[in-house]
Amino acid sequence: MGLLTNLKDSISRAAASLFSEEDPKRIGIYGPPNAGKTTLANRIARDWTGDAVGPESHVPHETRRARRKENVEIERDGKKVTIDIVDTPGVTTKVDYTEFLEHDMEKDDAVRRSREATEGVAEAMHWLREDVDGVIYVLDSSTDPFTQVNTMLIGIIESQDLPVLILANKIDLEDSSVQRIRNAYPQHETIPLSALEGDNMDEVYDKIAEYFG
């Protein structure tokens, strides 16, 4: 680790100890591909820091490496909550390059994208094991939430005793059903939102402060 990074870390730690009792919690944004994780990460980062986290796309597996935005300060009721946001690649059990060919991609590019996406999922699963303090689990509320991947991931998160906030994204879509997600995971609170439109973000920030503050 470089001297500058060390110095920066020391300063931010010292600053954090002045204003809060703990270091920023590292919050992983997990979920299946195309649930809107990067859109949400960008929305949070833009709202509170002015920067974006990464490019968004309707093509699955646009995010193929975990991206981090550090020291995002969220202010709620006069209290500051500082978190590091980690945007992760969509977790899936199968990656197939032919899926990308439909999006006007050359075969070589599609194969490379597929390989990178697989590496990204491996990385995201590894991070979940030891590198996150809490999870924001993003689901597309217009699709069936009761999938093997979702059940397994939420199970892993529960077994780690990590605080988890389930977000029902894309409520701006006609087929959206927040209740379907509530029924699938009744043991967790589900917050509806549209990260794209910015709908209900106030409640999302309230809950982030409540769960991870």
Binding site: T92, T93, V95, R115, T118, E119, E123, R129, I156
Partner: protein, 211 residues
């Protein structure tokens, strides 16, 4: 006994459900893939090949050694997946015979109990193929299996392949086509940083010095 508890050395048949809830002997939850014919010495004895890093602490050296051995076993094995029959592996004491395990479900027992005839196997599969390596990638990475390959395969064959692959973290079906075992990826201390077209992958082992 394709799988072995890295803690107490107890062996398990391929597809054994006992492993899923941890080793019944010691409660360990790390298992090493040991194809038939591989050295069956207990995992506490370090394999001679991987050199221990000079001056490194022993835990890290062990982890790296084990990882190297595991990767070597996986990549270097020439055991065909169809050969993993329970009857061939009852030699070691402590081995769990998956065929008689009560907890095993009917589909698994049936898949293991029956043997596919040679003409049911795909023609292009090389003799030395291993479940870890994609059938096409082993000898000719650029050649893909026919698109209808999986549809034409009999159910038993499909079941067997699923059983064989359930403990692999990433299965390369063809270049650009992957199946991921999320629990395996999550459970591993080391993680995959780069996949290669021939079905091998590079891993990142835990760092010796944690900050």
């Amino acid at each position: 006994m394709p799988h072995q508890c890295t803690n107490c050395g107890r062996g398990f048949e391929d597809g054994s459900q006992e492993m899923l809830s941890g080793c019944p002997n010691c409660g360990g939850n790390k298992f090493q893939f040991r194809p038939e014919g591989a050295d069956s010495s207990p995992p506490s004895e370090e394999p001679p090949e991987p050199p221990e890093p000079p001056g490194g602490n022993s835990t890290v050296a062990k982890t790296v050694g084990k990882t190297a051995a595991t990767v070597r076993d996986i990549v270097g094995s020439d055991e065909p997946p169809a050969g993993a029959e329970p009857a061939d592996t009852g030699d070691a004491s402590g081995t769990v015979n998956a065929g008689s395990t009560d907890a095993e479900d009917a589909a698994q027992a049936s898949a293991r109990g029956d043997v596919v005839s040679p003409d049911e196997l795909p023609d292009h599969a090389p003799e030395g193929d291993h479940q870890f390596d994609p059938p096409a990638a082993d000898s000719a990475p650029s050649v893909e299996p026919p698109a209808d390959d999986t549809q034409d395969r009999p159910d038993l064959q499909e079941l067997r392949e699923e059983l064989n692959s359930q403990f692999e973290s990433v299965k390369v079906l063809a270049p650009g086509q992957y199946e991921l075992n999320l629990m395996e990826l999550y459970d591993r201390e080391e993680y995959i940083v780069a996949l290669q077209e021939d079905g091998r992958y590079s891993i990142q082992v835990p760092e010796p010095i944690q900050e």
